[in-house]
Amino acid sequence: MIYCFYVAMCLCLLILQTTVFPHLPLLDSFYDLLIPFIVYLALYRPLREGLLLVLFLGFIMDNISGGPFGLYLTTYCWLLIGVIGTTKFVQVGNRILLSMVVAAGVLIENMLFLAIFTITGPDVNLPAGAWSTVVIELLWALGTGPFFLIFFKYGHGRVDHLMDAMLARQR
């Protein structure tokens, strides 16, 4: 059930990102919506769940994106590990820190992408306007990241509640 919820959520985010946002003028430079989801998994879910989903998501994203295969997989895995590692030393409780974590995730993803771009791509130069894109994405992440985390947490809570009720009825 919980995995159904995760898959449904991922699908919604993916569709939002690939079919809705590109048509909206302000949101065409929005960050990867799966980053807050991975941050959420890293912060609030067991590693087993997170890892499975990251592999699934990375695989899907690598397939629908034009980047080299494994780019998203790598990024998401590192992001998951990085956030889990960070939370061992830093307590991420308030919204400001959550914003920072999501923004850091966006930054890590973009840095990895740009690095791969320049290393494996035909041209060593960065695309024109690359830094402005990164800055816009970071600003979006800082502004909206925690809300996504809250939303995921709330959605998860509802699903848990639903599952408990169903189990209680069965007994």
């Binding site: 990102q17 690939t18 590109p22 994106s65 994405e137």
Partner: protein, 277 residues
Amino acid sequence: MLSKKMALIIGVIVLITFNIIFLSATSKSYTSFGLGRVAISFVAPFQELFTRTIRFARGIWEHYFFLVAVSHENLQLKQSLNQAIETNSQWREVELANIRLRSLLNFQKTTTHRVLAAEVIGKDPSPWFKTVIIDKGKADGLHKGLPVVIAQGIAGQITETSDHYSKVMLIIDRNSAVDAVVQRTRARGVIKGDSTDLCQFDFVLQKHDVRIGDIVVASGFDGVYPKGLPIGWISDAGKREAEIFQEITVTPYVDFEKLEEVLIVLNPPGNDFTSEK
């Protein structure tokens, strides 16, 4: 002496006469002798209060029903307007789709190649890569390497296919390269993507005459894109002393932000991917 009874009758008659005379006199010109102001000053505030209260209550009552009626009317009008807007929008969409499809159809008629129409259903999740997903795949006869075009010019190339969907790498992607020539001077080069909405026209020798506004078309030498298909126009060109090649920027004819329908050329001049298969 007058009896009591008689005195009462006379008194009544005098009073009536006086009353008549008084009324006759006062009926000719109105006067309150100054007392009217006092009475008015005393009574009028209360009158005013009550009148206003009643009017207010009546106003609320009447306007409430009036507003309910107006609200209903407003709602109906809004619904009608929304329906009209929706219908209008649908018509507009149909009209635009019609224009686009007519354009594609004209292109389909004029081109000698066998083409298949497809719809763009999704865009790349990353801003760094320029790919789109179309709603046709292997089941429709598509395979890796087929060129994707629209009436305005070349859009890209299929890089991956599933049974019913395919991924198209657009010519603005950094991994894309199209062998091209300048239509006017036949100067040859390679159109490469820049992950922006523009392309670079690389490997054009300094000796060639290239001007802003020149049209760039596919040369057909890459074995992927049919010869002569328009790609874009030169929007910036510059020569550097020490360089062998010119620095040229090409603005594609295809508006990739608004790409909705595309045509896939099913019988391209010949490509390596087919032979790989």
